[in-house]
Every structure is written in C-alpha cells, then in structure tokens.
C-alpha cells in the first residue's frame, strides 16, 4: 500500500514537484498498478538468476583514439544559459 507520504518521498527522489491534486491522483493510480502487480510475488524465484540484459555482452572495449567530436560551440548550442563556454546554473549552496 502506497501512502501519500510515499508518493511525496518518491517525487522528491525523482526531482518532481507535485500539486495537491497530482499527489492524490498518483497515490490512487500507483496503488492500482502495484496492487495489480502483486501476483508476481506468488511465483517462486528462489533459484532463478536475474536477467538484466539478453545479449551475451560483457565489457565492450575499444581503442582509445582521438576521433571527431562535437565542437564546443555545437555542444553549447542547446544550453539554456551559459557563460564563457560553461553551462551556467543557479546557485548550488
């Protein structure tokens, strides 16, 4: 059972600011969804290995060569605020 307090906590972890009606809506909907998902717990998975990824790929390496890169100008072109070739953000502390 997810409470409104849980929703507030998860929203903070997700860096989302919710309005009062949104908190109520998500509490109800997340409860509906997770309640429907409950039956997963019935399945015995004691001796089953998890699958995070279906391909037999591990540690894909390549040579460390200098290739063509996006220019600084292009990399900053979509930036909402910048100063002297840096991304600029509001105060942190």
């Amino acid at each position: 059972m997810i409470t409104k307090k849980d929703v507030e906590h998860v929203a903070l972890l997700s860096r989302l600011e919710l309005t009062g009606p949104e908190k109520d809506m998500y509490t109800r909907q997340l409860n509906d969804i997770l309640e429907h998902f409950q039956f997963l717990a019935r399945l015995d998975t004691e001796n089953v290995q998890p699958t995070a990824h279906v391909l037999p790929l591990q540690n894909v390496f390549r040579e460390d060569w200098a290739g063509l890169h996006i220019s600084r100008e292009d990399a900053l072109a979509n930036c909402p605020d910048q100063e002297e070739n840096y991304f600029k953000v509001p105060k942190i502390v």
Binding site: V10, S14, P50, V89, P90
Partner: protein, 485 residues
C-alpha cells in the same frame, strides 16, 4: 492527380525506368502530406526542403547512369525520438520542445547514405511512453482508417504516416510493442528486430535493455529492404551485436512447406477480443493450408509478463530520464531559487502525466526497501519468460499470435485508466523481455479496422519471419487495402 499508394520497391522500379524523377516522387508525397495531415496529425516537423534537395541529388545520380540503392529517393518518416542533425527532435515532450541535435542517429545516417529522403519527424507518445499517441505534448495523431480512433503507440505517427501515404516507409522504436501495436492498428507492416541488431546511437533512451529501432512499411519486401539498410554492428553503440549481416531479401520466398509454427495458447485466451481472435485464427489456417505445420503450444509464464515489463521498463526509465534537468539542453523553468529548485520546477513543467507516473513507479521499484521485492523479482521472472521462449524455439521455427487484444480503440477511451492502457500491450511485451524479433503484418479486418498477425522468431532469425510473412502476403491481399481519406 489521383494519389496511389505505392511501395518503395515499386517506386524504385519507376525511378530506374525514369518514369518519374525522385524530385517529382517526393513532391507527390509532400502534396499528400498537405492533403491529409491536417486530418491525421502524423508529423511534428516536416522537412520538405531537405527532402527535395536530397531527391535532386538522387536524380543527378540517375542522370549520370550511377546505380542507386533500393531506398534512394524514397521519402521516410522518422519517429521524433531519433536524433536528426540540425532538425528539431522533441521526443514528443515539452522538455525537449526546443532541442536541435548536433548529430544524427546511426540509423538516420545509414538511410541518408542509402539516398533516402527524410520527409519529417513523426509524432509519438512522450518519450515513447504510451500505446495511443495521446501522450504527445504537441498533437493528437488519428488513425487513417477511422479518425475518431487512435493509431496506437508509441510510434503512432510513423504508422499513420505510412498507412495514409504521407510517407513510404518510416522508422519507429519498440520497447514493449511500440512498433508492432501501431502497425497492427493502422494495417501496415512493422518490425521490432532482435535486440542488438540495429544501432540505437542517437535514439532518445526510454528503457535501455528493451528499446529497439525498427521499420514500418507497406509490404514485407520493403521491410526487408529497410532492415538491410539499418542493421549491423555500430561501434558507437556498445550494445550493438557483432553478427554477420545478411541480405534479407534473399528470404522472400513463397514457400512455408514444412515450417513449424507454434501458437502459444496463452495469447489466444480470454482477454483477446473474439473478432480479433477469429481473424488471427483464419490467418493461421491460411499458413497451414500453404503447407506449414501449425500447432498449439505454451509459454507458461505469459501472465507474469506485464508486471515484469512495467517494473523493469520504468526502473530503467527513471534512470534514463534523470538527464532532463534544464542544464545542458531543453527548456529550463524560470524563477528558481537554487539548482535543486530549478531541477524540480523544470521537470515538473516539462514532463507530462504519464512520464511522471512512470518515473515515480520506477524510482519506487528501485528505492531502498523495495528493490528486492520489485526490481530484482522482475529480473528473475524475466529469466523464466526468456526460458519459455528458448523451450518453444527448440520445437518451432516461429510463434504466431495476435499483436493486440483489440483493434484500434477510440481516442479518450483509455487515457484516464493507465492500467487498461498497459493491458493493450500484453501480446507484445514478452518479445522485448526475451530480446527476440517480432513482426506485425496485416492479416484481415474486424469491424472495418485492421488486425495484425504477430510472428515471433529466434534471436537474429529475422529471415525465417520474412519468409513466412512474404508467403502469407503473396497469398492474401490485405496489404493492398488502403484507408479512404
């Protein structure tokens, strides 16, 4: 001029016989877009001038007697979560409403290298999260067969464009059915290739262990041509597989004699609309009459696929979408006191309801105290689902099923009930969990709306799927029926 829907291979024949120029061909498609897209809403951005310039380059090649590739001069719609250098790419989200990528996805580069023209960027559910295209921040896409109905999603714009003749082929992405379900709803061919077969460099990530790019086309031959153009290893995508690419057109043979086709009984059970089941059964009988051996089989963990999929996909999404913070690209909320406040306001204003819901579900499933019960549990059940397929493919060459439990539903019908919306993916999500290829082909109509047949194959065995699908197509005419617009 009377508009006729043609396939890419038919257009290619006209181009090399010089019956039409690539520029004229592109102008015809753009005239069609002008005529129908107000009704359909397939495109977020149209790129007419770029397409015509590319088409003129193809015409010069033809005039100079150069050999052109099968997709040269063919107008293709690109789902708007696939980056295009210098062309706005929004992922259907307000948060990226001003984003102009400084590079193109590998699939776009490969299509451009093949001479294809980019007709525009197709509408989608925000960040590919949805089954109806109603979650787009920009516009509602309508089903060309009935404009009161959804085209499916999340690649609904791509499917609707091809069905309406507003593009000849299209690219979409499929995380839980987002190519196959809209292909089924719109009566076109749609393929999710094997995980790792097509580079995802430049695809805006949703759930990285499930996402795959694939084509929409009007027939199976075009689908093989599109896969030929986009598949193969890419050093820029570390999850792209190193496998020997083949010419998929070599599998287009009208012959399924002796082919063993399994029908998982869980996919034909209650929950599937009886009219849809009837159409799909008839299609299976057709393949049987053409010489295939069709038998019922079982994938016993099917009922667990939906929660497994949603927990894994949303956990991955919550991590992938953490990058949208208003720092490097996209919109930034104004009037923030400090950087955390800026993140919170930007994300709250930039994301729509479904995206917020999924980020929170994923964050919850990964959070302290819930990780083992939700996320880890889902990864273990994923193993069981994958093993179901491994067992079935020891006996069968392909598995067959409906693509979606219903035909296209009405706009607004499911938007307030997320769980009902999620259930429309029950026949497609297991394919992504197992990483195998899935194909939707038109197999008939129920109540005047298209129904898709799903073919599921072994890893990297798209060829067998093409052969069965081509045989079905050669002996039916569903792919030749078009919506009246």
């Amino acid at each position: 001029m009377q508009f006729t829907l043609r396939t890419a291979h038919e257009m290619h024949d006209q181009l090399i016989k010089k019956e039409i120029s690539a520029e004229e061909l592109n102008k015809t498609v753009f005239a069609r877009i002008d005529a129908v897209d107000d009704q359909i809403g397939a495109y977020i951005t149209r790129t007419r001038e770029n397409a015509l310039a590319q088409a003129r380059a193809v015409d010069r090649q033809i005039r100079n007697g150069e050999k052109i590739s099968p997709l040269s001069g063919i107008p293709i719609a690109i789902k708007d979560n696939i980056c295009t250098d210098g062309i706005r790419t929004t992922a259907g989200s307000k948060i990226l409403s001003n984003f102009i990528p400084p590079y193109s996805a590998t699939v776009v580069k490969r299509l451009e290298a093949a001479g294809s023209t980019i007709a525009g960027k197709a509408n989608l559910d925000e960040f590919a999260m949805g089954s109806s295209n109603e979650n787009s921040a920009f516009l509602v896409t309508r089903n060309p067969w009935d404009t009161s109905r959804v085209p499916g999603g999340s690649s609904g714009g791509s499917a609707a464009a091809v069905a309406a003749g507003a593009a000849v082929c299209a690219l979409g992405s499929d995380t839980g059915g987002s190519i196959r379900q809209p292909a089924s709803f719109c009566g076109v061919v749609g393929m999710k290739p094997t995980y790792g077969a097509v580079s995802r460099y430049g695809l805006i990530a949703y759930a990285s262990s499930l996402d795959q790019i694939g084509p929409f086309t009007r027939d199976v031959t075009d689908c093989a041509l599109m896969l030929n153009a986009i598949c193969g290893h890419d050093p820029l995508d570390s999850t792209s597989a190193k496998y020997q690419a083949v010419d998929y057109t070599g599998f287009l043979k009208d012959d399924v004699r002796g082919m063993k086709l399994g029908v998982p009984e869980e996919y034909m059970a209650e929950g599937i609309d009886p009219a849809v089941r009837g159409v799909v059964l008839k299609a299976m009988e057709k393949l049987e009459s053409l010489g295939a051996v069709v038998e019922y089989t079982t994938l016993p963990h099917t009922e667990y696929a939906l929660p497994t999929y949603y927990l894994i996909a949303q956990a991955e999404a919550s991590s992938n979408l953490a990058r949208y913070d208003g720092v490097r690209y996209g919109i930034r909320a104004k009037g923030s006191e400090d950087v955390i406040d800026m993140f919170m306001k930007t994300r709250s204003q930039g994301f729509g309801h479904e995206v917020k819901r999924r980020i929170m579900l994923g964050t919850y499933a990964l959070s302290t105290g819930y990780y083992d019960a939700h996320y880890l549990k889902a990864l273990k059940v994923r193993t069981l689902i994958k093993e179901d397929f491994d067992r079935a493919f020891k006996k069968y060459d392909l598995l067959l099923s409906p693509v979606s439990p219903t035909t296209a539903f009405r706009i607004g019908e499911k938007i307030d009930n997320p769980l009902q919306m999620y259930l429309s993916d029950i026949c497609t999500i297991s394919v992504n969990l197992a990483g195998i290829p899935g194909l939707s082909i038109p197999c008939g109509f129920a109540g005047g709306l298209p129904v898709g047949l799903q073919l599921m194959g072994r890893h990297f065995d798209e060829g067998t799927m093409f052969r069965a699908a081509y045989t079905f197509e050669q002996n039916t005419d569903y792919h030749k029926q078009f919506p009246e617009l």
